[in-house]
Symmetry: C2
Subunit: 337 residues, 2 copies
Amino acid sequence: MQRSTIDDVAQAAAVSIKTVSRVLNHEPNVRESTRQRVMAAVESLNYHPSQSARSLAGSRSYVIGLLYNNPSANYMFDLQTGAMERCRQDRFQLIIHDCTRRRQDIAKHALGLIDQTHADGLVLSAPVCDEPLLLDALHQRSVPYVCIAPNQSPHHASYSFMDDRAAAREITDHLLGLGHRRIAVIVGHPDHYSAVQRLLGFKDSMKAAGVEPNMQLQKQGFYDFESGYTATRELLALATPPSAILACNDDMAAGALMAAHEANINVPNDLSVAGFDDTYISKVVWPRLTTVHQPIQEMAKVATDQLIRQLKSGAQSEPKRIDHCLVVRDSTGPAPT
Amino acid sequence: MQRSTIDDVAQAAAVSIKTVSRVLNHEPNVRESTRQRVMAAVESLNYHPSQSARSLAGSRSYVIGLLYNNPSANYMFDLQTGAMERCRQDRFQLIIHDCTRRRQDIAKHALGLIDQTHADGLVLSAPVCDEPLLLDALHQRSVPYVCIAPNQSPHHASYSFMDDRAAAREITDHLLGLGHRRIAVIVGHPDHYSAVQRLLGFKDSMKAAGVEPNMQLQKQGFYDFESGYTATRELLALATPPSAILACNDDMAAGALMAAHEANINVPNDLSVAGFDDTYISKVVWPRLTTVHQPIQEMAKVATDQLIRQLKSGAQSEPKRIDHCLVVRDSTGPAPT
DNA sequence: TTGAAAGCGGTACCAG
DNA sequence: CTGGTACCGCTTTCAA
């Protein structure tokens, strides 16, 4: 019942260990009958190659690192799920690494991780992928990496993304279409590129609709429930409060909803609230949130796919845009007359 | 800028590689001055030992596996966070593994994981830790493991847990204390031991209060939003609906809230709703949920700690109970008269 | 199409 | 207290 090694398999199949290695790595030049004999031995011995030995001897480790820095559990979950799914397909091992609370020495840290684990490459999610020092360091050591929703397109990497600006326009247009003019916006975390893009999209639409910009109706948030809650309380305390609020993610929108409920304001009759991301939370709050579906899981899967392809072929892929879509639910309605 | 090896460090410090190894592993019998020389070399070369080489050569790999099978993102997040925190402390690497959709061959699968990764031990969260075949297999291969909230106490393992039955009694008593008698319960997923314990606790209190059992008011749920929603719709359609609902976790309670809102029933004035777990969701729904705080993160941290200790000393620890506590918020109120 | 032998970067046993 | 050396289980180069 001990772990079996490549030697055991070789012996059982009456071949050399090199041949076993060939079969397992799908290398050419193995007679079909030999291949089958080896596979049978692998099966019967329940053989699983040692990752350590592989990565030590070879140039690949079949390990991919996922670096993140995001406080939202739901976001994280989707990220992981998408990346793991793709990894499993090619029997890669995913190791996840929380980069919160290390900004300065993140490059050094990531390199250390590479040294320790021999990871073949890295998947960088926003906003980790927007650290120039990190990117430089990785490039210098020629560590393959891909990005999810990066800021400016990284020089040396593939990435997946969604069009945040267009999405913001769509949801703002939805609000405008309902007759709202006094629309407040709760901006996302300044470290996230998506936050600035979404704000731009909002402004695009407002301008196109001929609405005068009003800084009183723009509040800084941080992509968390609390900041959405606080911002909304302030907005509602205004002499003339907004008739609609666009929160740049669902957590903040949930906070907005809470503030509205507490102030006894009916959503959507007296106030419309829109979110962003279509995370789990948007389906469980009341009323259910109108939001934009951000395909995080798909984005993670695609980015991981890009990385794995690159590891195999050495070539990078084109940036890949993943479609978003507007999801209209119950938190938005016609502007009060 | 290449990765540096133990040889580089040895050379730089003018000692043998064995001595470097000693220093890095905190082995005794190294002169202080030598130790410092080595550490200086490690620092300046930015040396990070190769995990692969270590696990291949030695008997330890400094890798711990976390096996889970739980659909809730928030639960997962807490689990991971707690385990990772403890791992980081002793520079262990955590690899996480989703066991959903593999029940039958889970034992074989876990063993494969051990073979591949050389993991030193496993942290098993409920309900994975209640698979007898898995536990047997691990024991037979003498793979160290610990459990989080297991069913019957596992024969050969340490574990952390909370007293679900007592917690259920507390929250039921809270409801009873508010004057409720017609209390419905939405039971958790049958695969989870916690679900049966919580139901037992509920029954304990109801019996102690002299309330006749009423199977009409007991609904089977599955620890997800949807099942809580559906169950509540059925409950509200009853000729005489309950005045309070105890949902055995927060997701189901959120579903209950949604159903109540849709039916235009005021919570908590017309209906009280209580949850369980005190996850993120309980703070963002409206009204905020009265619930029981389940210290998942702490439980994960403690279990991981037990495992690491065992790996070091070889000895198991006593099971460790983590305190829960009742969290009264806004979703429960006096029974309507 | 197959095999022999030399490492990969550490640990562990045993000398000195 | 310190160093030499035999592995750990695989991949890779080079012959056969």
